[in-house]
Point group: C2
């Protein structure tokens, strides 16, 4: 499956595309960071982020789009822009009929490093290793977007298997 991860942000919005399946090798397809200048008109900044995400969704045609879940408690100074960028990613995917998922930062860290409290350097190290990249992806937003995609390939599929098992179990009960 192909997953497009979005680390939402207004100044820097990370986009990472990964192909893979649980228990098989992962391949990085694309990584990019969309940037908009803090001094620019807010509407034009959001439009640039929206256009950039739409272009990536068009170009890479992912099976799923996964976006970091935003918590209002996180960083009061930037949370509005982060939430706005995440909403644009959800709309860009949904209007093409692509499944969207949200994962929390600690879910991503736990999936990639085994610890929900791992630091950014540790996440970047594991992303570099798992995707067999020649160099560490920078900035952190790029690595975070790839980490989201990897997390979804592993967790999403596990959850799908659980869903399928639940469906089968429910069907068995009825028969």
């Amino acid at each position: 499956m192909r997953v497009l991860g979005v680390d939402p942000g207004l100044t820097r919005c990370g986009i990472g595309v990964v192909d893979g399946a649980p228990g098989r090798a992962l391949t990085m397809v694309h990584v990019d960071v969309l940037r908009t200048p803090p001094g620019d008109d807010l509407g034009l900044r959001l439009l640039a982020i929206f256009d950039g995400i739409e272009a990536a969704v068009e170009r890479f045609a992912p099976d799923a789009v996964v976006v970091e879940r935003v918590f209002a408690q996180q960083n009061l100074r930037t949370v509005t822009g982060t939430a706005q960028a995440s909403g644009l990613a959800l709309v860009a995917a949904s209007r093409r009929g692509i499944r969207v998922a949200l994962h929390t930062p600690s879910e991503v860290k736990a999936a990639i490093t085994g610890s929900g409290t791992a630091d950014k350097a540790q996440v970047t190290t594991m992303v570099t290793r798992l995707l067999k990249l020649p160099a560490r992806p920078t900035p952190a937003d790029a690595a975070d977007a790839l980490a989201l995609a990897i997390c979804h390939i592993w967790r999403g599929t596990a959850l799908n298997r659980l869903d399928a098992a639940a469906v089968r179990a429910a069907a068995g009960v009825r028969r």
Copy 2:
């Protein structure tokens, strides 16, 4: 000038369109509240809000779109959805080359009632009176969207006059 006001929200998103100019009568052109069920998929809810705002912008072709400014401190439980809806309104306007403006709730209250700390009932009373409506607009999100549009017609035009004066002054200095 015609202004489309958006009171952003995920469960209820108010849209109000007003024609007018400072010192002249105001006319309500349209009022609506977009609603999405809290239990639905987040991507589909945001897409419904985006489509609804785009349809209103297409239909009423406003000179400006004005959106309530979101503060992370406001209401932690709903701020993420409110910020996401506001971002969608800004993109819907910006991609059509329409000017967007943001006003804070206290700027709107001060413009409409004379007090930045007026309550919702007082704002609704003044909106009803200023637009000569036969009944109070409900829910509050509808009245708030109309109040935003009125505020922008009054304040925006005053600010535009100041901008124009500043431009003339700057030009005068250079000549």
